[in-house]
Amino acid sequence: MKLRRLLSYNWQFNLTKGARILKISVLLSIIMTFSTFANSVVYSQVEISIDVENTEITSILDLIESTTALRFFYDNDIYDFKQKRTLSLKKVKIEEAISLIFEGNLDFKLSENIVILKKAIKSTPVKNNKINTDNDQDELQKTISGSITDKDGNPLPGATIVEVGTDNGTSSDFDGNFSIAVSGNDSILVISYLGFMSKEINVNNQTDLSITLEEDTVGLDEIIIVGYGSQRKADITGSVVRITPEKTRNLPNSNVLQAIQGRVAGLNITSGNSAGSSPDVLIRGANSLSASNSPLVVVDDVIYNGSVSDFNANDIESFNILKDASSTAVYGARAANGVLLITTKKGRSGKPKFKFNSYIGYQSAAKLIDLMDGAGYEQKIVDFNAANPTANVTLTAIEEANKASGTQTNWLDLITRSGIISNYELNVSGGTDRTTYYISGSIFDEEGIVKNDNFKRINLNLNLNTKLTDWWSLAFNSSFINRNLSGRPASMYNAYSQSPYGNVFDENGPSGFARLPIGDQLGLNPFINTLVDEENKRTSLRGVVSSKIDIPFVKGLKWTMNYGGNIRNDRTNSFINNKLTASSMAQNGVAQKEHERNYDWTLDNILNYTNTIGEKHKIDVTLLYSRESREGDLTQARANDFVSQALGFNALALGAVQESLSQRDAQNSLSQMGRLNYVFDRKYAFTYTARRDGFSAFAENNKYAIFQAGAFAWTASNEAFLEDSKWLNYLKLRLSFGENGNQGINRFSSLSKINTSQYLFGDGGSSVSTFNIETLANSELSWESTASKNIGLDFQVLDNKISGSFDAYLSNTKDLLQLRSIPSITGFDQVLTNIGEVENKGFEFSINSRNYDNPNFGWDTNIVFSSSKNKIISLGGVDANADGIEDDDVANGWFIGQPIDAVFGFKTNGIYQLNDTDILSGFGPGDFRIVDKNDDGAITPADREILGRTSPNYIISLGNTLRYKGFSFYMLISSTQGGGENNAYIGDNYDTRSVNPRGFTTFTERFNVHNVPYWTASNPSNLYPRLDYVAPFDHPIIEDRSFVRIQDISLSYNFNEKVLNKIGFTSLQIFTSIKNAHTFTDWTGYNPETSTTVKGSPNLSSYTFGLNFGF
């Protein structure tokens, strides 16, 4: 491996006018990797023998690397490495060799086997990184010492410290400490480190510096995890994005995914709306109709099937998102919807570093639905009676009494609250040069906005890395997670519909609540839910053991074995006593105890070989054999008719009626994968990947499939004609194509299942079991495959101030796994089958700009954009009407040439008014006017049409970070444009008992409704129908759900480290933040993003204050 290639770019940046400095930096992880190869010899004593004639210095260094364990690091600018030398050395030490090769002009530093070359400084104060107190005070007036750490306080060994305008420089030691003699108080130091943004320091009167470097998110030397290995960003051929949760650290991200929401092009994360809920994630839109569209989640190199909400955002080192077919091909059929690779934090050598993070805040509903107050409620009754002369609805006695006493209740206000959220986390990391550790623990506590909606999570993590021998290292990553979702929230549903004149309390009712606030059977008090004794606890234990062996007798060959296990236990117990609901009263108490256990394990064997042949050919081969197994057990016991209500679900035996259910299933996957990476002359990179997948849920003869992908990247900026460009720092063109499978279907999907129920014969007898054939077998069930092409461009311009990438893709998914509606005449409604073809194309870009970057003030801007469109190409080629065009599949809502999420149905055009003369049969004034598309004077199914699609046209977000001295301000604005969804606010309100239900029944007269100006003879609304409208046809009301949202705002202040160091702290930060500050939208429901309407729950806005410190 030619490590120095990593540093051989011509990196330059202007600090002050005309000044140019060098940047030599070493990424810690590379050193660590190399340490693995190092033998415990003293490298300074390595003997070097070379015999060359008129050879370039670069080749001489290559020769040394190929014959010894020594590796060189240097910057091209410090010397003309193209010079030629003729040398004959026999068993000389490195010191002598360097001196001879560079004729004394270069100095070096040895860190294990790494030789860092640098310009020789006349007076060298850097020996052993200790200041030489006897040095020449004439030239160097002042000695400065300090330490360099990253944001988390981890030391950065090997960082470069250079005095601007001089050749004077040094680098930090293993603990990140350095000292340097500078010319005086006017000196400016530049601190740089690979993968981090450089920092300028005005020396002034300081002598002791504590410097924190910010990670450079656009650095080309970032190591990107690509699945079963990692690559330098510069060598990557596929569409891969690495992101760290750093910027959003100060936000109350109850879920790790929130930390990257709106920050990656093509990654769409929708926010949850209750305590502890998991958001939905889509990478590049939906491809599949019925199979899963969720991306594969991989944690610490091992596939993770648990909930992503399990993790604490602060424990995450980085996310790597694989988007195109080439990059995801290593995960084959598991990766049809992209891959989300999560790396947890690891320790770094050095003294223990403690870090404490905390925040506390509150959250509230971003928006609540406006309900009728007492006056509106009464008017509704008046209007209902007017429309239905026989109805004769009146207020109940309770309602009359409350009205008389002026008691009104806004139930929604009553059941919602400002929920407190808090998070406390402590981690410690450190280690020796052989063993490092990272240990963390956190408690996250969240109160949802609805009373009794609570979530508590405890995380414990241990990450341990150790070098057993010089060639064998072991890592152990583990976490324990306990989530507690116990307790049922108050019912939003019942709160909507409850009369404003209802009684909240009744001293004789359960726990003092009035069970039926107005005495109506269906109008249960929303607080009754909170009285249900419910326990919902989930624990997860995850462990990954990783063994890496550098096979000694084949250079560049490495064997990695990962074994990951994950066990999840979910307990869901509930007891509804015989005083709460109608059914629990009738059944005299209902209890359930459920235990679900899932156990997954993965065993990966990975062989990796890297070598550089000659000067310019770098190859990297990865071979994988992987086996994954998942099994699940569910045991559920239920009982009712409790002789005593005292004990509940822990004493099911007290119930007279017993019922039990058990379930057990397992699935297995077997995969082999090969990946070849070839880079020629730093300019051209090729990747070829092939993977064979086997999955148990497919039909007997279709268990295995092979998928292949290839990619090519051209780093144009390394071409001679661009290398000297003043403005273009980096330009890479990427092309990829390939095919992936989708196995996102449930176990046993190809089998015909029989479910059981019961019947009985005779009075007082017992039940007998019944068999019902639930699903149709599909002996052909096979893989869904997606062939896709991706073209991408990565660039960095204007001194790396602006960087970004553009990607466009086109994919075709074939043999879609579809849960297809079939004629129910067969006895089955649906069957899982492979059919059809869907095209998905999209465009996405992200641009990062460092608008200002100086020590006191910085401003970064980040724009992310993505747009994708899909359409159905084929549905299996049926043309029953023989018109030469393939038929649409109306039953499934699939139409050739239309998006898979097209909305099909009857279109409405306002409301029929009293004077209308064109009212069709079956309709009347105040009804929705369904469009008679074929103008035949009647509404029939032939009038249905495509009304739009639900997915957006594009998603864009804009992030800005401003930094002024210790202050840092971050704001993210995100927007989704286009797409519509049926809005129950004006459409389907059946379940909410509100105006204009589309169903066959309504309780409009018995319950409250939301406050809309519904149609009456005196209020001829053209938007809302009459109160008692019953639609003869199901018709959606599509509403645009475009929105612009101020999603994240955070302001933080970092205290001066120098001051902190004096009191023993390494960092101290306070911050305040707002999540979901405001949404601008025309959507009339709660949340346009998740299209929640009156049926769902509102979006959450949270406000927090936090404190982080390290010591």
Binding site: G764, G765, V768, T770, L776, I822, G827, P941
Partner: protein, 547 residues
């Protein structure tokens, strides 16, 4: 030595990978279901087939309790409305109480997207598919011949029973005679007569192979097959055959109309007709010789309690009736002990059912006694000044809150747990009762031109009811329908009977003023569900005319 050790270790490791690579076994990916059955291991013995037959019993019970309606994705359609639409509402005997809703009240609102139309279609074809699977497997199974025949007889009975609903509700429908193992998209409608002929074959097989002695409560017997066969033969215009089939039941000495009081509630005032509908009085084991096939319900038995919704649907919503001071005139149990339960008044009887059909024998027909057709209700609210007095309904109460209560749908004893706040009870329900067999034979005799025998059969029913015998000159199909209403109200699927006789539109116009303005002749049949038409990609399922 150290070096030797490490290389040795490495060797072992590499060996272990190699072994893993080699051990790539296909067995690993074979699926073995561990917690559910598949046809291959379910249908291996008589127990498996019996369980499949029991499921057909459960599904058929769902046609009246609607327990399975929810299983078949009936969107926005409550079970209450499902049952009442088949058994009463929108026919000549009743309409849905809330007139603004399209519970087959305004026929202009009935179209092929109607969820009820779709749900019944699905349940019925599910029964047919299950029966076809049983028949296909049993024929090749290794069971004893007698078990084979009995099981096939049961399955074919249910297949015919499902087609009976389909053919009368929808007219021509796809005819499935064999098991379907792969999806099919090219169904076409078979003529009604083909369906009827297929039903005839199935029922004849069932009649020959079902036990001639009533084998047990809730089980099928030969008589059940003969009864449905008689009805089918009437539709096939084979009146002689129908008379023969019905006679096989009537002449069987196991069956006779109940003539005197019996069973669980004899200590309470009532009459024999009332006794027929008390709890635990339906099965043969209770001494009831009139029942041929009974759908079973039982409190606190696993899945034995889908609950019958009769009180809920047929009981007037008395709790809304007020006294002169605006207090409730009726307090629902458990706050009060009353025999009336908690009616919700979904079925609003027409004047035809409340008065017209009783006019000739208003006081002597026991089916119109105060036990069986309650017209007066007592104020039971102790807080009301009119406590204990007869309720005086307001005009608006008459639409739903205060109407004639068909008491065979109510039984205080139907709540073994004391009371059910939902108004659901646990009384078994007749699927086939001997009285109907008489009325079927009367219909067949009449259509065969034999008024004398027709009259005789009708009068057997009337005699038991203590009604005046009818003169043979007065017998018409409409009279038979009137008699069926008197005898079988709430038991017979009235919509099916009227559709079978092509009388729905005609009699709705005569007797149901709510639906009369909107009903047209084509409404005699339901539309073919739109989802069935839409999913049938490779052939067109032609819609019934008018829809």
């Amino acid at each position: 030595m150290k070096k030797y050790f490490t290389y040795n270790y490495l060797f072992i490791n590499i060996l272990s990978i190699t072994l893993l690579l080699v051990s790539c076994s296909d067995d690993l990916l074979v699926e073995k279901p561990e917690s559910f059955l598949t046809p291959s291991n379910a249908f291996v013995n008589a127990d498996g087939y019996n369980a499949a037959i029991a499921e057909l019993h459960r599904l058929s019970r769902g046609l009246r309790t609607s327990e399975v309606v929810n299983d078949y994705a009936i969107k926005n359609f409550e079970e209450d409305k499902a049952v009442t639409t088949i058994y009463a509402n929108g026919t000549d005997i009743a309409s849905f109480a809330v007139t603004n809703q399209n519970q087959f009240t305004d026929y202009a609102k009935i179209n092929s997207t109607n969820p009820l139309v779709s749900a019944y279609w699905k349940i019925l074809y599910k029964m047919i598919a299950n029966a076809n699977t049983i028949v296909a497997n049993i024929t090749v199974s290794e069971l004893k011949e007698e078990d084979k025949l009995r099981i096939e007889g049961n399955a074919r009975f249910f297949r015919a029973f499902a087609y009976r609903f389909l053919v009368y509700l929808y007219g021509d429908v796809p005819l499935l005679t064999a098991e379907i193992k792969t999806p099919k998209f090219d169904f076409t409608r078979a003529p009604v007569n083909d369906i009827l002929a297929f039903m005839k074959e199935d029922l004849e097989f069932a009649s020959a192979n079902l036990p001639s002695e009533n084998p047990g409560d809730g089980q099928l017997s030969k008589a059940a097959a003969d009864h449905i066969l008689a009805e089918t033969l009437i539709s096939l215009k084979d009146y002689t055959g129908a008379i023969q089939a019905a006679s096989l039941v009537i002449d069987n000495s196991q069956y006779a109309l109940m003539q005197s009081r019996f069973g669980s509630s004899t200590s309470i005032d009532g009459d024999v007709f009332w006794d027929l509908f008390r709890i635990n009085n339906q099965n043969g084991s209770s001494g009831n010789t009139e029942s041929i096939w009974v759908w079973q319900l039982d409190f606190t038995t696993l899945n034995g309690e889908p609950k019958n919704r009769l009180t809920r649907c047929w009981g007037p919503r008395l709790e809304r009736v007020k006294d002169s001071e605006g207090n409730r005139a009726y307090v629902v149990p458990p706050a009060s002990i009353d025999t009336l339960g908690r009616g919700v008044g979904f079925v609003h009887p027409t004047e035809y059912l409340e008065y017209t059909i009783w006019e000739s024998d208003f006081n002597n027909d026991i089916r119109n006694s105060k036990y069986n057709m309650q017209r007066r209700f007592t104020n039971n609210n102790p807080a009301s000044p009119e406590f204990g007095q007869m309720m005086v309904p307001r005009a608006s109460d008459l639409s739903r809150n205060h109407n004639v209560f068909v008491k065979k749908t109510a039984a205080r004893e139907g709540y073994p747990q004391g009371y059910d706040t939902d108004g659901r009870m646990y009384t078994d329900m007749y699927a086939i009762r001997l009285a109907e067999t008489y009325l079927l034979r009367a219909e067949a005799y009449f259509l065969n031109g034999d008024n004398t025998n027709s009259t005789a059969d009708i009068n057997i029913i009337r005699n038991r009811a203590q009604a005046t015998p009818i003169a043979s000159s007065l017998i018409t199909l409409d009279y038979i329908l009137d008699e069926r209403a008197r005898e079988l109200v709430s038991e017979e699927p009235r919509r099916l009977t009227l559709a079978r006789m092509n009388k729905l539109a005609e009699r709705v116009r005569l007797y149901n003023p709510v639906s009369a303005p909107s009903i047209q002749d084509f409404h005699n049949l339901w539309p073919i569900p739109q989802d069935a038409i839409d999913a049938n990609l490779e052939a067109e399922l032609i819609q019934n005319p008018g829809y």
